[in-house]
Amino acid sequence: MFRIVIENEDDVYMACSIGKKVAAEHGLNKTQQTKLVVSIMELARNIVFYAKRGEIIINDIPSYGIEIIAKDQGPGIPNLDQYIDHAFPSKKGLGLGLSGVKRLMDEFEITTAINMGTRVRAVKWIKEGQGKHNDNITYRP
């Protein structure tokens, strides 16, 4: 398990290269690797842009998948549904980050509370199509 503290953009790339290493070790193909790494990148960048600091945990679950947990104690996400279901214009990017991660990964869970922080858990399965989609959205206003 790797835990990377995210405080600036350099940490984003640090998390990415660790993610890539783990993905390669578990025999993910090039496309799946890219999807995993880009997901880490999106989540980590969100932390830098919105929460200033937080952490990314990369956890390999043997013969199941690679789990990413992104945690921060930032401002939380208001109108979460808008971000998740369709693109929503954001100030700092394309506004596709979260919904993109949801599509890129096989499992996706998000918990957010205003002013308390956000926690995203996403899993890339090692075998494609191994299980059922399991998306969970918890939202406390």
Binding site: T34, V38, E42, L96, S99, R103
Partner: protein
């Protein structure tokens, strides 16, 4: 809104608010502060007049802040914001408003005795000084005249003068005590009490002394002689209060932070209305008292960060409660009870100096035996010679600082060595191996010092020494690493600037076509650099088409795409169209799932080759290459 009933005599404002800002309850001080006349509204944002406070409060409601300072009517106020949550939902907010000035003055008020003492004392000392000098002169002349005239009167005059001078000396010792120069030390309070009691042995025949010492090893910090004199005065008073005998009880207790000493007598007691005056210079209840004793006691205890409290009942007796700060581990200074350790520190320092070479040799041998790689690195950059000549630097620092820690000198040495290591690329993990092994050897040295000498350390003393030595070492390590990292960071920054210059290589292909290959990660900083430079270069080269090749970008996420789109938009404003090439299949797949839609303005081709072929087929293609003059 209701007035808070509990809050009448609070010196601070307290306001209870609903999450929407409506005032629920408010105490009078809060009302006074808000100074509202407008009835009917009770939203706090409508009531607060000070804009500064309003904006700060707003941030509090948004959860960005919990406290802030605002000056209202030239008084500094401290606002404390407290959120009362139930089941994760904010139920109520409490806003506490403190006037800093009144907080300070109420604090001062509790120290009135101290103030009184110092002001009266200072004045008295001034007078005493002025009066004593002429008196001394008179005494001298009286002695001279003694030979010639009637003895009796002169003797009376002299004894009276003697008395006057003594009184004045006493007075001066209270306010401007000779103890002022005395250094603070750590000493055993119980032993001091015992030694004071010894002085009264001849007066104790009809007095029973009860001593209850909870912790005989309790150490306090302060000016030893001053406190000893205070104890002397208190015990003297207690004995004098019991002319017909009685019980003198001395109790000592201690807790985590304080050592308490209670001295009680079963004597005449002090009238209730006079208790308040205790400690004031010249205030006395004794027939021939000078009113100096307790003044000295109060002064001594308070100036040593202690506390003193008196309870008394007429006819039953008086109790003085003293409390002293317990020895603080960080400001350990040594003292009477610890005289061995104080001396042993000086000796330890000498011992370390004397044996610096010996232990350095031992340390170097250890390194060459167990850390051969480290040893060879050291040999290579000449540090080994330095160690042979000057000894282990950390051990030297400990030897120099053990009796008194000189922070700045340590920092200077650490800075010099840290920068040096950074410049010579001495790896930081090896540096840490040096630190750790040095620490080991230093403790070896300390151990052998104590086992060779007769000094014994008890557990407390040992841990104090441990803190001391390790504080010195840690300070050095801290500063060393900080300077090392700082230098490296600066280096990386300058390198990065150089790389940035090189990282936007716009290559002109033909007169109006350029290529920009982007290699490596694109972060915000770099994206901004690329955008600025590209726009300038495109303008400069009058390019109509720019091929951006991103095959060298390992991962493309929405942020990178966003940066790219911005560059494309900027270029379009300059009349230059963009062709994007080098998107690999994995990246394409990812981009689709991300939901990135490629602008119709942006032409995409799979690789550079195709792009060039495409451009050549365009009607406005001019095959002539860039002229080189």
């Amino acid at each position: 809104m209701t007035t808070l009933p509990i809050a009448h005599d609070y010196p601070y404002g307290l306001i209870e608010l609903n999450p929407d800002g409506t005032i629920q309850k408010i105490n009078p001080e809060g009302k006074r502060l808000l100074d509202f006349e407008v009835e009917g509204t009770n939203n706090i944002f409508n009531l607060i007049k000070n804009n500064d406070a309003k904006t700060n409060l707003h941030e509090c409601f948004m959860g960005k802040k919990r406290d802030f300072f605002v000056t209202i009517d030239s008084h500094p106020y401290f606002f404390l914001f407290h959120e009362n949550k139930e089941n994760g939902k904010t139920e109520k907010f409490y806003l506490y408003i403190f006037n800093i000035n009144s907080l300070q003055s109420s604090h001062d008020h509790t120290n009135w005795n101290n103030h009184l003492l110092s002001s009266v004392g200072e004045m008295a000392a001034g007078i005493a000084h002025e009066v004593r000098n002429p008196l001394t002169a008179v005494r001298g002349f009286l002695q001279l005249m003694e030979e010639t005239a009637s003895q009796e009167y002169y003797q009376i005059a002299q004894t009276e003068l003697e008395r006057a001078i003594n009184i004045l000396n006493d007075l001066m010792s209270v306010s401007k005590p000779e103890f002022a120069q005395e250094k603070r030390t750590t000493f055993n309070i119980c032993r001091k009490i015992d030694s004071v009691l010894l002085l009264f042995q001849n007066q104790l025949y009809n007095i029973q002394v009860v001593k209850k010492f909870e912790n005989e090893d309790a150490l306090v910090v302060g000016r030893k002689d001053q406190i000893k004199k205070a104890l002397f005065n208190l015990i003297k008073n207690a004995i004098e209060a019991m002319p017909d005998g009685g019980t003198l009880t001395i109790e000592q207790t201690d807790n985590y932070s304080e050592v308490q000493v209670n001295i009680s007598d079963a004597g005449v007691g002090i009238p209730k209305d006079k208790v308040r005056l205790l400690g004031t210079p010249f205030f006395t209840l004794k027939q021939d008292g000078k009113g100096m004793g307790l003044a000295q006691v109060f002064n001594a205890i308070q100036s040593n960060n202690g506390n003193i409290r008196v309870t008394s009942e007429e006819g039953k007796g008086t109790t003085f409660f003293l409390s002293f700060k317990k020895m603080h581990t960080h400001s350990f200074l040594g003292g009477q009870a610890m005289i061995e350790t104080v001396d042993s520190k000086v000796e330890l320092s000498q011992f370390l100096f004397k044996n610096l070479d010996f232990y350095t040799q031992e340390w170097l041998q250890y390194l060459s035996r167990n850390k051969s790689y480290l040893n060879s690195v050291l040999k290579e950059n000449g540090q080994l010679d330095d160690y042979h000549k000057n000894g282990n630097p950390i051990m030297r620092i400990v030897a120099e600082n053990i009796s008194e820690i000189k922070t700045e000198e340590i920092m200077d040495i650490a800075k010099e060595r840290g920068l040096n290591s950074a410049k010579t690329d001495f790896p930081v993990h090896l540096a840490w191996e040096l630190f750790l092994s040095s620490r080991g050897i230093i403790w070896n040295a300390i151990k052998s010092f104590y086992s060779e000498s007769d000094t014994n350390l008890n557990m407390d003393e040992f841990f104090i020494l441990e803190r001391n030595v390790n504080d010195i070492i840690d300070l050095y390590l801290d500063a060393y690493t900080a300077y090392y990292i700082n230098y490296k960071d600066e280096l990386i920054k300058t390198h990065r600037e150089t790389v940035d210059e090189l990282s936007v290589p716009i290559i002109p292909l033909t007169d109006n076509v350029c290529i920009l290959p982007i290699v490596g990660n694109v972060d915000t900083y770099r994206a901004k650099k690329i955008r600025e430079k590209t726009l300038f270069r495109v303008k400069e080269l009058k390019a109509r088409r720019l091929i951006i090749d991103i095959s060298g970008v390992p991962f493309v996420d929405t942020a990178v795409v966003n940066h790219l789109f911005k560059i494309v938009k900027g270029l379009k404003l300059l009349g230059c169209s963009t062709i994007l090439t080098g998107i690999g299949p994995e990246i394409a797949d990812t981009m689709i799932e991300l939901g990135v839609e490629i602008d119709s303005e942006l032409q995409t081709l799979s690789d550079l080759q195709q792009a060039i072929v495409y451009i050549q087929r365009q009607p406005d293609y001019k095959p002539n290459l860039v002229r080189r003059n």
